[in-house]
């Protein structure tokens, strides 16, 4: 009777920074491939929404648009285009994955769960930045706002996108019912556009709403972007960075608890 030697199983331990980077790259490729139909459409919608918001803004006013409103519109709309993918689209897609049961499959992949977040973050930047640039150009063309783009625009853009991705990621993973996270995302979007000092000065809000916003991340997103674009802000810029970092950590922590849970 012939005996066949079995090939020795050499399990490769998948850990260490190199492996983590590899996992991130693999997950980013996965993300790009699974959303390939959505990404161009989403980027186009972002550009249209950003430019549309800037151009439509003037319609609200019977006569000349006040100078303050112009500056806040030109510097606030880019922030809206940046956060919307992370805050609104991300939880919806995670919800869709839960309904379609691809969620469990993705969670079973032999990659660190943090790689999933990094790939999302990369995608959010990819989709959000063109919209941001387009809305900045639209603001400049429509209202002739002279903004001084400084190098701080890079950390500001990265952080706005990171905070919104972390919050969206936490909502998508921690909220069990997809319908609830969907509604929550839409409501947050409404609050951010309509009731927070992103595209309007805090002075135009009722006092209670303005003080509530001091704890929410939206106003700070506007603050760091405005300061990076050379506009004087009434709020402390380092304070705004710190608040956003706090929200990012809280979001990631919540998401980590949700995705690391077993059973």
């Amino acid at each position: 009777m012939a005996t066949v030697a079995l090939p020795a199983a050499t399990p490769r331990l998948r850990s260490g920074p190199v492996e983590w980077l590899r996992s991130c790259a693999v997950m980013a490729r996965w993300q790009l491939a699974s959303l390939r139909l959505f990404i161009p459409m989403l980027a186009a919608v972002e550009v249209l929404a950003g430019v549309g918001f800037v151009l439509g803004f003037g319609l609200f006013f019977t006569s000349r648009v006040p100078a303050t409103s112009v500056v806040y519109c030109a510097t606030g709309v880019p922030v809206i285009t940046l956060y919307i993918v992370g805050l609104v689209f991300l939880p919806q897609v995670v919800g869709m994955q839960k309904l379609a049961h691809t969620y469990e499959f993705l969670q079973s992949e032999p990659v660190p769960r943090s790689a999933g977040f990094v790939s999302w973050y990369a995608m959010n930047l990819l989709v959000g930045v063109p919209g941001m640039v387009a809305s900045l150009i639209a603001g400049w063309l429509r209202f002739g706002v002279s903004l001084h783009v400084s190098a701080a625009v890079i950390p500001a853009t990265l952080l706005v996108c990171l905070t919104s991705s972390a919050i969206g990621f936490a909502m998508g993973h921690a909220v069990a019912v997809p319908m609830v996270s969907n509604v929550l995302a839409q409501v947050l979007n409404f609050v951010a556009i309509g009731f927070s000092p992103i595209a309007m000065p805090a002075g135009q809000l009722p006092d209670w709403l303005a003080s509530l916003n001091r704890g929410l991340p939206f106003g700070s997103m506007g603050t760091i972007m405005r300061s990076a674009l050379g506009v004087a802000t009434p709020d402390s810029v380092p304070g705004a960075y710190a608040l956003l970092a706090g929200w990012t950590c809280a979001g990631l922590l919540l998401a980590a608890v949700a995705v690391m849970r077993r059973g």
């Binding site: 919608v45 929404a49 319609l59 006013f61 409103s69 556009i193 309509g194 135009q204 809000l205």
Partner: protein
């Protein structure tokens, strides 16, 4: 037992009533109304909540973005609020209700029922029109309370609310039937609602628009919804109400024709 007798006995006569004529149609309509009422009942709180969110919140947001509005401007916002609350019904709720029926297979089940499809559509339109009314009223009350401008409500408020709600429901149904892919519907409505709500001549006058955009809005139903509702809530603010009723009627009819064309197809 005489087996032979059983086998040769004539089969029992099936007495199937013919379900035709206006009476049969009315009976089908009544049955479908009961069916739809019980299936839409669970949606009612969500519909009202979304309408208030879209309508009343939107009305408040305008006031935040544009500080120091004159009284006419406030009146425009308040009297536009009901139309703002109706848009999500036609653009989001009705299409997503129908597309969820499509995904769940309820849609095929309803079509297989032995009632005329016209009765099915009529019943669903009746329910979606009526479902809109509480949300509109609450929105109007909230907006009036926020801005404190007195309205002069005329009896024309009844036809104005009913026609605009019916128009929104009809166009929403047509939209849901014409686009086969629910994901596409979702995407279209998400884009539409943002552009439409914020930058439509509902909460501020059409004269603030560039001419070309104003011309486009003359043919679309949004501006005319705001006109008929505003005419029933204020005096001396709008003119050309008859034209607006005609345009809305035409859009309603167009919605019905589109739905009839889709539902009349077999297979």
């Amino acid at each position: 037992m005489n087996v032979q007798a059983v086998v040769t006995a004539p089969p029992p006569r099936l007495s199937l009533p013919v379900r035709g004529g206006p009476l049969g149609w009315l009976r089908s309509y009544g049955l479908m109304l009961r069916f739809d009422l019980s299936s839409y009942r669970q949606w009612l709180p969500m519909v009202v909540a979304l309408q208030i969110l879209m309508g009343a919140a939107m009305a408040i947001i305008y006031g935040l973005y544009v500080p120091h509005l004159p009284r006419t401007g406030l009146l425009y916002i308040v009297s536009g609020a009901p139309a703002l609350a109706l848009l999500p019904l036609g653009l989001i709720l009705v299409p997503s209700l129908i597309s969820s029926q499509r995904t769940a297979g309820t849609f095929d089940f309803i079509w297989s029922l032995p009632v005329s499809r016209a009765a099915q559509v009529a019943s669903s339109l009746t329910i979606t029109t009526l479902i809109a009314l509480p949300g509109i009223v609450v929105t109007l009350v909230l907006a009036t309370w926020r801005y404190g401008v007195p309205l002069s409500v005329s009896p024309m408020v009844v036809p104005a609310f009913l026609l605009t709600a019916l128009m929104a429901a009809s166009v929403g149904t047509a939209l849901a039937h014409l686009v086969a892919n629910p994901v596409v519907i979702n995407l279209i409505t998400n884009i539409l609602v943002f552009v439409v709500l914020l930058f439509s001549p509902i909460a501020f006058p059409l004269s603030q628009f560039p001419t070309w955009l104003a011309d486009i809005h003359e043919g679309l139903p949004l501006y005319h919804m705001a006109v008929v509702i505003r005419a029933s809530l204020t005096t001396g603010l709008v003119s050309g109400v008859a034209t607006s009723y005609l345009v809305l009627g035409a859009w309603t009819l167009a919605g019905w024709i589109a739905v009839a064309w889709v539902t009349g197809r077999r297979g």
